[in-house]
Structure formats: C-alpha cells, structure tokens
C-alpha cells in the first residue's frame, strides 16, 4: 500500500465506517460493538504504517481539484503522521473502555457512530492542507461533540452541550472569517501554497480567536468544564485525545508550517497562553467536582502546549509535540479513572468520596501515575514534554513566562494530589468495588504507557524530532 492510499483509508475508513454502525446495530448489540472496535483498531493501526515515511522526513501532498480553490488537499508529513498516530491510538483505547462504560446505556448506536465519526474527522483534519477542509472537519467534530456531550439527554446536560456547540461554533465562524480574509489576500486556501506569507494582524486575531475557543483557552474556555456532563469516555475523548488538541495542532499547522505572524504577535501569544494556563490552574484548585477539576487541568496544560509552539524554537516545538502525546495518555488515564470512580460511587463531588484506595487499588495507582505524568515528574512521559517547553521558553528569552509556567506546575501538583488524597486516601465515605474488565484494563494500560513513554522516551522523541526538524525547516 502506498502512502497516499494508506492516508486516504485512514481518513475515510472511520468516516464511512461510522455510518455503517447503525446497520451493524440492526444485527445485534454485540456485533455493533465488535464492529466499532474493529474500525477503531483499524484506524489506529493504519497510521503506524506511515512511521517510516515520517522518520524519513519530507512530505507528500495529495490533491483533488474542486471549484473556487476549494480543493481537497492532504499533506502527509511527520507532523500530521505524529498527530494522527497519537489521536487514533488514544481514540481506540477510549472505544475499548466504552465497551464496559456505556454497556447499559441507551442510544449506543449513536454513541459509536459519533465516536468513530469523531475520530475519522480528526484524521481528516490532521491531514488537511486546505483551510476550508480543516474547518469542515473541525465542525463535523463539533457536531459529534455536541451529540456526545448531551448523550445522557437530561435537560441541563443538553443545555451544556448546546453551550459547547454554540461557543465553539462562534469561535469557528470567526476563524472562518479570518481564513476568508487570508483568501482575499492570497487567493488561495491551500496552506502549502502560502507558506512563508505574512498575513495581516486582523486575520491572525480572528484565527486565534477560533483556535482559542476550540482548544479552550481563557477567556473562551468556559464550555469545556461544562462539557464534563458528558459520559466520561467522551470527556476523555474531548480533553485528552482529540478535540482540544486540534487547536494546538492547527496552530502548528497554520502558524509554524504555514504563514508567518506579523508584528508583535509572536510576543503576545505566549503571554495569553501562560495567563490562561495560570487562571485555569487556579480554578482547578478551587473546584470540587472531579471532572471539572480535570477539565480545568486540561485548559491549564493546553497553555503549555500552546506555549511551546508559540515560542517557535526547536526545544519548544519538540516539547509541545511530545506534550500532545504525553498529555493525551495521562489525561485520558485520569479521566477514565474518574469515570471508574464516578461509575461506581455515582458521585461527582470529591468531598463526598474518600478511602477508595482500599477497594479500587489499581484505579488509585493508575490515577497517581497519570497525575505524576501530568504534573511533569520524571520518570513519567509528562516530564520531558513540560521540561522541553520550559527550556524552549527560556531559550526564547521569556524567562518570566517560564517562571509563571513553573508556578502553574506547582499549582498542578497541589490540585491533582489534593484530588488523590481526597478521593483515594483518608476515610472511606462511599466505598464501592472496582469494576473489572475493559475499563480497569484500559486505565492500567494508560498508566503504564505514561510510565513507559517516559522511560523509553527516545522512541516517540524520534518521531517528534522528525516533525520538529520538518517544521523548523520552514521556520528558517
């Protein structure tokens, strides 16, 4: 199979496959779940075939002509391959976990359909090199999110889903306006054709607005904590693997790989993201809802990822890429741990929990390991990413920002370990047994992967370094 076919299959197998889920659902529930897992696994396996290409560097561009410059263009380079591997893999794990988690819920057909469509669109987005198709896949993801956030169909939940959809849609159309403005200047939506172009500040503002909304950066973040009403699998999907990472990925794709930032923007963006990171961390310290704390934590960590890309030097980019992977694994682990706890205790407020380490030791251990990774403690994977981002920031001469980021890391320690102490240690307030099967397996796997990704960091680092070299090539 050549590169082009592999990529096209990666994108369209899950998208088209997702539409067949209801058909499989007609056969039986088991068949449908098996089919979903199969599709997910296939999607996760396909990009792995592209690893040699990525390590070799260079890029392949696939193009299908449409009217008015709305061509369908795919760019296959180390950056997109890295991103596709990470998100499809985490997505696959989440599907596995779902087998146990939503076993007793209604609307499972829709659930699996949306999740697969979600992952497929993510693949499409990652490989898209046309601004409009980037936007298009992004909005398909938004639709999926909306349905998935409102999965439990309670009125307040659906309202939160609507809020998420509306806010992200708002950001997206503003971003679209920015794209159109760029089109007005360059006459093309093709990212590969506008590399190195300096775009006007207003377009940057519009596009950043969209990115910040989509990846929940202060002050456009409030939909993300509210989206915690979704099934935990979905929150994990939103936070860890796919949705919020897109904004960061798009930043790299547009502003590092694509056009250049004018004026003072390169200095302003790091400040915004660091402040966002700090505010979210502060909110996480105050919150008491398990999932909301993790949500704010996501917002906070996203600040780091943005920061690495925003400083735009090799260490920073490398760090951010690794961060996407490490945070994907660890945050998915944290959310799925929260899922097990909430599923078992039917409570969401951490003050009502306690002492669960006795009844669910694996979950507790997994939580702790993932928390260490998110905080950035070696030998877990999160250490390297955070370290490199900070290094990159200092290298770019923004020592004060690096210092604030490190202070935020202290806050991260406090809130994540506070949750651990409150939920797993201390007196048992609502003891509940650990659910066995796929859920605990996935959580443990994610925790172990967080550890292994740190111990054997040189393997993912190789891929990230290839992507970094590729991007840096354009930066010079």
């Amino acid at each position: 199979m050549n590169i082009e076919t592999t990529t096209l299959l990666t994108v369209f197998v899950p998208i088209i496959g997702s539409l067949t889920i209801p058909l499989a659902g007609l056969v039986s529930g088991k068949a449908r779940s098996a089919w979903a897992v199969l599709l997910g696994g296939f999607t996760a396996a396909l990009p792995l075939l592209l690893i040699p290409t990525a390590l070799g560097g260079g890029e392949t561009i696939v193009r299908k002509e449409f009217v008015l410059g709305l061509d369908f263009i795919l760019v296959i380079d180390p950056l997109s391959i890295f991103m596709s591997i990470v998100s499809s893999f985490v997505g696959f794990l989440i599907i596995l976990y779902s087998l146990g988690y939503i076993r007793h819920e209604e609307n499972q057909n829709e659930y699996y359909l949306m999740v697969l469509l979600f992952i497929g669109s993510m693949m499409g987005l990652v490989f898209s090199a046309n601004l409009i198709f980037l936007y298009l896949f992004w909005e398909i993801i938004a639709i999926c999110c909306w349905r998935l956030i409102g999965f439990y169909r309670l009125k307040e939940f659906v309202k939160k889903a609507d809020k998420a959809f509306l806010m992200t849609f708002f950001g997206a159309v503003v971003m679209l306006l920015g794209f159109v403005q760029i089109y007005g200047q360059t006459g093309t939506f093709d990212i590969t054709a506008m590399r190195g172009t300096i775009i006007p500040g207003s377009a940057v503002l519009l596009i950043l607005f969209g990115m910040f909304t989509k990846s929940a950066t202060v002050p456009l973040h409030t939909w993300l904590p509210d989206a915690g009403v979704a099934p935990t699998t979905v929150t994990a999907l939103l936070h860890a693997a796919v949705l919020v990472k897109i904004g960061v990925y798009a930043y790299a794709r547009l502003f590092l790989y694509g056009f250049r930032l004018p004026g003072a923007w390169p200095d302003v963006i790091p400040i915004i993201v660091v402040v966002s990171s700090l505010i979210a961390a502060g909110a996480a310290v105050v919150e008491t809802d398990f999932k909301r704390i993790l949500a704010y934590s996501t917002i906070s960590q996203l600040g780091y990822i943005f920061l690495g890309f925003a400083v735009a030097n090799e260490a920073g980019i490398n760090g951010s890429l690794l961060f996407i992977l490490m945070h994907g694994l660890a945050k998915a682990g944290l959310f799925l741990c929260a899922g097990i706890v909430i599923h078992a205790t039917h409570k969401r407020d951490i003050r009502e929990m306690g002492g669960l380490i006795k009844t669910m030791p694996i979950t507790a251990a997994a939580y702790l390991l993932c928390a260490f990774s998110v905080i950035g403690i070696p030998p877990f994977g999160g250490f390297f990413s955070k370290f490199l981002v900070i290094m990159g920031t200092v290298r770019a001469g923004m020592i004060a920002l690096a210092a604030i980021s490190l202070f935020t890391a202290v806050l991260t320690m406090i809130y994540l370990l506070r949750v651990f102490a409150q939920v797993f240690l201390g007196e048992a307030k609502a003891p509940a047994p650990e659910k066995s099967g796929s859920m605990v397996f996935v959580v443990a796997l994610l925790a172990v992967l967080s550890l292994l990704s740190g111990l054997f960091v040189s393997f993912p680092a190789k891929l990230a370094a290839a992507a970094t070299t590729h991007i840096s090539g354009w930066l010079r």
């Binding site: 202060v218 090799e314 390297f384 900070i390």
Partner: protein, 622 residues
Amino acid sequence: MTPTTLLWTILIPAIAAALLALVPKGVKFVREIIALIAGGVSLYLGFALFAVKNLEWRLPWLGGGVDFELRLFHFSSFILLGLAGFLVLIAVYSTVKMKDHPHVRSYYALVFLSAALANGAVLSDNFVPLVFFWEGLLVTLYGLIAIGRKGANKTALKAFVISGFCDFCLILGIGILWAKTGTLTISKISVHPQGILAAAFILTMIGAIGKAGAMPFHTWIPDAAIDAPVTFMAFMPAAFEKLLGIYLLGRLTLDVFKIEKGSGLSILMMTIGALTIVLAVMMALIQKDFKRLLSYHAVSQVGYMILGIGTGVPIGIAGGLFHMINHAMYKCGLFLSAGSVEHRTGTTELKKLGGLAREMPLTAVGFSVCALAISGVWPLNGFVSKEMIFHGAIESGYTIFAIAAWVGAIFTFASFLKAGHSVFFGKKNEERPTVKENSLALFVPILILALLCITFGVFNKMPLTQFIQPILVGHVEAGESIDFTGHALSLFNPIAGISIACLLLALGLHAYGWKRGGKKAYLASEPIHKAPVLKTLYDWAEKRFFDLYEQGVIFIQALSLVLFKGIDRPIDFVFEKAVTSVGSAMSGVLRKAHTGRYATYLAWCLGGLLVIAAVLSVLTKS
C-alpha cells in the same frame, strides 16, 4: 570496567525495586534476600568504581543537545560509594524495623528506586538526565512519606510541593544556562555568574539546597519525622538528600559557576548557611520529641555545609564537603538509634523515656558517639569538619558567619545533652516498661556508623586525602595550598579554643536548665524557650507563621480563589448569562413590536418604502 557498568549502577537497584514490588507481601525471606543482595552488589560496584574513577558513557536521547550522558570522576565516585554504603546499612536495619509495616512492599521498592535515581543523578553529566533522576526522587519521596502513619499524605504533599518547587527553580536555572551557553553537558559549562547568569546560579542553587533541606525549604522535614517511617528519615533527609544536594552545590560552585571569594553570591550562600544553622538549631533545642529534634538538626547541619562551600576558600569548601559525609554518618546513626528506641518502647517522646542506657547499652553507645560527633567534640569527625568550616569562614573575611556557626555549635551540643540525658541517661521513667536490647540487625548499623565517626575523626588524614582533596584539584588557584591535614587535629589554636569554649558553655546551659526544670532532663531547654523575646518568636514558629509552605498554601488558595471568582466565573457569566439575556431581551423587544395589527404592518411597509426611496435617491445623486 566498561562504561556500561555505569548503567548497571542505576539498573541494579531499579530492577531490585521492580522485583521487590512484585514479591507478595507474605514472602518476607525472599524480599530481604533480594534487598541485601542488591545492596551488596551496589556497594561492591561503588568500591569498584571508586577504584576506576574515570568513565564516560553517552547515548543519544531527545536530540538537540539533550543526550543521556553519564560521567564517573572522583567526586561522583565518592558520592556513589557513600550512597551505596548507606543503602546497605538501611537495608540491613529495615529487615527488622520494617518487617511488619503494612506497606512493606512499597517501602522496599521505593527505597531501591530512590537509590537507582540517586545513583543516576550523581552520574549524570547532562542537565536533562540530572533533572530526570533528581526530580524523579519526588515520586519516591511522596511514596515513602505517604506510606507512613495515618494522615501522612498531607506531609507527603508538603514535601512533594516544596521539593517540586525547588526542582522547578533548578529547571528554570538550567534553562537560562542553556540559553546562555548553548550546551547542557555539565562538564562543558564554566561561566562567571554575572547578570542573568547570577539568577541562573541562584535558581540552580535553590534546587541544590532545597534537596539538602536548607532553610526555608526545610519545613517538611520535622513534619515527616513524625509521620514517616523513621528509617525513611535516616535514609532520605539524613543521608541521601544531603549527599545529593551538597554534591550538586559543590559541582555548581566548583565547576559550573566560578564563585569568587567575597563575591555577592558567596555572601548570599554564607548568609543562607548561617541563618539555617542558627534558626534550625534554635528550633531543635526546644523540641520535646526525639525524632523531631533530630530532624531540626538535619536542617541545621546543612547550614554548616552551605556556609563552608559558600566561603569560596579551599579549606572552607573542603570542610563543607567533609561535613556532608560526616553528617550523613552520624545523623543516619542518630535516626537509627531513635528508631531502635521507638522499636522497643513504641514512643520517641522525651518525657516518656529515660535511663535506657542500662537496658540498651549498645544503642546508647552508638548514640553517644554520634551525638558527640555532631556536636563537634574532639577527636570525632564532626570536630574536624567544623574546625575547617570555622577556618574557612574566618579566611573569607566575614567573621560574623564564624560567630553564627559557633552559636550553632553551642545549641547543638546543648540539645544533644538534653536528648541523651532524657533518653538514655538519667532516671528511668516509671511508666515505661522495661525493655531489652535490640537484635543484631538493628544495633550493628548504628555501631558501624559510630565506628566510622571515630575513624574519620581520629584518622582524618585518610578521608581528607582520599576523598576530599582530589575533588578540589584543579579548582584551587595556583599557589594556594590544598593540603588541609595540618589544620585537622591541632587542638591548640585559638579557633579550636573558641570551639571548646562553646562546648563548655553548652554544658553549663544544660546543667542550669536541668536544675531549673526540677532535674527533668527534657525540660533543660525551657529557660531559653521561655526567654522574653524568644518565647513570642517560638510561639509564632509553633503556629507556623514562618513556614513558607503553609503561608504559600494560603497565598495560593487566595490567588486561586481570586482567579476563579474574579476571572473564570465572570467570563462564564458573560457567555452563560449576559449573552443569552441580551439575546432574549432583543428578541422580546422585537416581538413586542409585532402586535398583530394590520395597520401597523402596513405603516411599516409604507415607511420602509419612503426610507428606501430616500436612501436610493441620496445614494444615486452622490
């Protein structure tokens, strides 16, 4: 010895840790065998590598200057040997002391993991692997405290956050260094700490002294003394962290930065050292708990090391480094004897103990030797290293720091008089049951340490020439002497005289306090505790006004509340309420206008016609 041996020094304890974690809880024998074998192998490697001295090993890692570089040279081999020695002693001691601990599996695994990480940190010749191992110790620190008694997780979090903060400072400092020098290989960096690099030095220094437990990053140690297993105290704060912290401080001041005698940074370090000595010892003096008292000394003694290294004169630096290894020995011994007492009597409160010397004579001997060594009594090792530090402080030209160090010496001795008197000597407390001497595995490590204290003191030439002197080779300016053996044992110079006078003063203080306290040894420090100004200060300290962590947590909570209520919620309000109500209000107004009356609608149409006609005419004309 191939370079890969370096890797084995890290991997053997790590593999042992993994095995220990897997051994089921019930199988005690196997666990102890694994622990002892791994400790023995480590010690063997330590000796073997100490003989080899020079090895380098390198593996490409993340790219961009971030390589996995290990380097063995004199300094690191010395520390490596020390770490291995303490690991063996702790392992032996733990076989009895930790036998029935509920978390014994995690305990052993974490101890050996710590050893692996510490070895890695010592060997790293690149800042990234250094931080990797250095900060990795946070995990074991958290784990080892958290498995202590109930509620220990708060202290664990405290230790974790404080150490984490220091490590983050280290990272920031490293970042600045990297940005300025372009390399992360430690042995390639040698800069003058000027401008932003001075900030880099201070930040990295915080990383080093934070690990060593200097003020103000010490506050978790006294808490951990109560909450964590006592072997942990002997192992981490007393031995491992001191060795690591001072090792890094030594490398920073000797290799990475060129700290000159009398420079601002030198004075800064000396000030930190002096303050740590005095303040911590003052706190130690008034403690009523054996372990807590020891833990404050663990802080106080770091002050001597920092002061010594900070002087910037060879004898001071040598003294600081020598004090590091000496302190590790006697403080480890002291904690272990406290552990032995706790093992038998079940308590470490001074009030409830007394007269144990008769029942546990070997432990008492071990304790006494270590206590005298820490107090700097001739001819024990503490005397030698402290003398060198006094000399260094005076040579640096700032006598005030020497005075501070002497003040520290007074109270150190006073507090150990009090501790020894109330625990081992004096009258037996009637409420305390009679106990027996501990088993072999418990008192042998203590006695070994006591013996080492004597050896290093009496035959100080050997350690000074074998261990300390070579470290300074190449760092001492031409013409200056690096032969310190002359100073070492001469009792007859004015400086040693002052030291001895200090010890006598301490004896007097103790006697006075003992009498005033109704011949109760544990009340011997009360005159100072209740002294006019000091009483208030002590009260504040008890209320943790001076605990930066507690204050920091309050600050962080306030800040978080401000960020949450002041920024996050208002933003949410804008999206959740403001936008929707503005929308609904708009809608309401417009809907009101649609009255359903035909005439209104017709009027709108005709009005619209007029407006459009007017606009069109105007636009057409212009």
